[in-house]
Symmetry: C2
Subunit: 162 residues, 2 copies
């Protein structure tokens, strides 16, 4: 009976282990992503590893650009500002957002940030968790203006909940 008991336990572990593996695999597969990660950002306006999927380009009749950005933990933009402002929709994970002379804010899946016109700010993933955002950026008043890099001190400053 001992052998049978061991056999039963082994079957339980192996059959359910396989199931668990396939679940984990699915959770990490592109099935979970709404929008593909796109291409790795290689310019100096970002630090760490971040990915951009340009969903909509601005054109003469609708001057909004819409992009999905995936920041790996620790990745962030430089300080920058938008002549027509920006709207950020947090799709997944945990991110940081900070406007000049304000405290860093922690943003989570389902939260929304409206960046005012011409106000320097930065955003990115939290130190431990990746962050996926949709950015809606009006191009009618010109392109994004890039400023200095976010220092480690700024990045790791204490954040408040949105």
């Amino acid at each position: 009976m001992k052998t049978i008991g061991v056999l039963i336990i082994a079957v339980m572990l192996s059959s359910c282990g396989n199931n668990q593996q396939s679940i984990d695999k699915n959770m990490n597969s592109s099935e979970k992503l709404i929008f593909a990660k796109g291409t790795k950002i290689t310019n100096d306006n970002f630090s760490g590893t971040a990915w951009l999927n340009s969903l909509v380009n601005a054109d003469s009749v609708n001057q909004n650009a819409v992009g999905s950005v995936t920041f790996e933990p620790g990745a962030r933009t430089r300080w920058h500002s938008h002549p027509a402002g920006q709207i950020i929709l947090a799709l997944d994970g945990v991110g940081y957002y900070q406007e000049k002379d304000k405290e860093k804010v922690i943003i989570r899946k389902g939260e929304v940030v409206k960046c005012p016109i011409d106000v320097p700010h930065w955003h990115g993933a939290s130190a431990d968790t990746a962050f996926v955002q949709i950015a809606i950026t009006g191009r009618e008043k010109g392109e994004t203006v890039w400023h200095e890099h976010v220092t480690d001190e700024e990045y790791h400053s204490e954040g408040s909940k949105k």
Copy 2:
């Protein structure tokens, strides 16, 4: 040995059945939603059951309104047009989109539609599957103009893949 075989199979089924149940439960929980469904739309510009969560209101500095709309199967808007156009991001499910004098298009999670300025169109869920969308609507040239209801014939017309 026959009894042992039956026992092993029973253990496999019961242990893994429980796992499956907990997965299904999670998939249906609010954990899966990025943005809350919001409030049920009660005006006559929609038919069937649809929900609106207004994420961002237009203001004097950023005239985009952003909302998450959840259409239950069969629900749709009237024909309507936007003086500044609209961008639709499909977050989940399967939806229909049609512009005047064009074929109905089937849109799925991860797809994007740019509705031109002043072109009458309608959108909604497919007949069998709910549809969740983000709508980005510029308000700088005025409000949405609503036209007639979508007929059942139009709704059920053959759709092409986006």
